[in-house]
């Protein structure tokens, strides 16, 4: 079997998605508080598939709106600019990747976990003083190297899965043992090739090694979000395990242990609502409950 390197994966994989220009513009606009509703609506209107997704999310039980919204401008007015921007970006990123399962990789479970980490990162970001929208996207993308490996090199992925099952170790260790590289390196290279903003690249690259990135708080945030998402067992995977939490990254979250159970509840409500991004159902009660949480995160 052909040996893999990050360069091989990036240059050889024919099915790597290209990120639409509008997604890049939306991500860059996270730090731009000056962008107006009209400008965002115009950006979105260039991609009718994206417009359809915006309206689907806006009209989903996640937001529990009393009436349907019919245009992007209307959804921004009702939901707020930051909410729409984040959800559109997330939906657009998910849509760029193949939605085919293979025997060793469940793409729906993958995105459910990614959304779980995104929600954890978003909730934690408020305590850690980080931008909640960027934190959400970091969580969403943190394992993107895994989906690239599985979709472009399924035989290699199968060997990794076999090793992991045999050794009962985490994916990262299995990838390093079998391939000599890991999904964080693949994801970081991919994020660089897409010209994602630097903090997002660093979060993808260092979410398993937050100690090595003292100047990249989003890597620590994503790491803790990943650990908490596994700890909450969101995927119901019998073979799941919680990666070891970095004490240094945890300390940077400024969270009291006594507050953690309340955060767990907040995170689980948000995950339930955000599952609509991958076609999962959100019950109305949870969707209504999450709305103040999102509003708080925006504040």
């Amino acid at each position: 079997m052909m040996a893999l390197s990050v360069e091989t994966i990036l240059s050889g994989a024919k099915r790597l998605p290209t990120m639409p220009t509008v997604v890049m513009e939306l991500m860059l606009a996270f730090a731009d508080d000056e962008i107006d509703n009209e400008a965002l609506a115009q950006k979105l209107s260039r991609d009718q598939a994206l417009v359809a997704r915006v309206l689907r999310v806006a009209n989903s039980p996640f937001y529990g709106l009393p009436r349907q919204v019919a245009t992007v401008q209307e959804s921004i007015m009702v939901l707020g600019l930051a909410n729409v921007r984040t959800m559109v970006t997330a939906a657009a990123i998910i849509a760029q990747f193949p939605h085919r399962n293979n025997a060793d990789f469940d793409i729906s479970a993958f995105w459910q976990h990614s959304i779980g980490v995104a929600c954890c990162a978003r909730v934690l970001s408020v305590r850690a003083g980080q931008n909640p929208n960027t934190a959400f996207i970091c969580g969403l993308l943190h394992d993107i190297g895994r989906v690239v490996l599985a979709s472009s090199y399924p035989e290699h992925q199968a060997l990794v899965a076999e090793y992991r099952n045999r050794e009962d170790c985490c994916w990262l260790d299995a990838e390093r043992a079998v391939l000599g590289l890991d999904h964080a390196a693949i994801g970081a290279a991919l994020a660089a090739s897409w010209n994602f903003p630097e903090p997002i690249r660093q979060a993808v690259a260092a979410h398993h090694l937050p100690e090595t990135s003292a100047d990249t708080p989003l890597a620590a945030l994503t790491h803790v979000g990943d650990v908490i998402c596994h700890a909450l067992d969101a995927g119901h995977d019998p073979s799941a395990m919680v990666p070891v939490l970095s004490a240094d990254a945890w300390a940077r979250m400024r969270i009291e242990w006594s507050d953690l159970k309340a955060l767990f509840a907040e995170i689980e409500r948000m995950i339930e609502g955000a599952s609509v991004l991958v076609g999962g159902g959100a019950n109305t009660k949870a969707a209504v409950a999450v709305r103040p949480t999102l509003a708080a995160a925006e504040a």
């Binding site: 700890a231 969101a234 004490a247 689980e268």
Partner: protein, 61 residues
């Protein structure tokens, strides 16, 4: 999203409530312990495990 620990316990329909609760708690503890099998000697992992266990047990009650 359903909690992973809401597993149907192996008790008969005639089981008294105390026995059902005891089995439920056992299922929760077992699941959380399995999830945290990589914790080693890490203090933060033990604290996190304890927080998750208490959270799940409170949900059960």
């Amino acid at each position: 999203m359903k909690s992973a620990v809401r597993v149907v316990p192996e008790t008969s329909a005639a089981s008294p409530p105390e026995e059902v609760a005891r089995v439920d708690e056992g299922v929760v503890r077992e699941r959380v312990e399995r999830l945290f099998r990589l914790r080693g000697d890490s203090v933060v992992m033990r604290l996190l495990e304890q927080a998750v266990l208490e959270y799940r047990l409170e949900q059960q009650r």
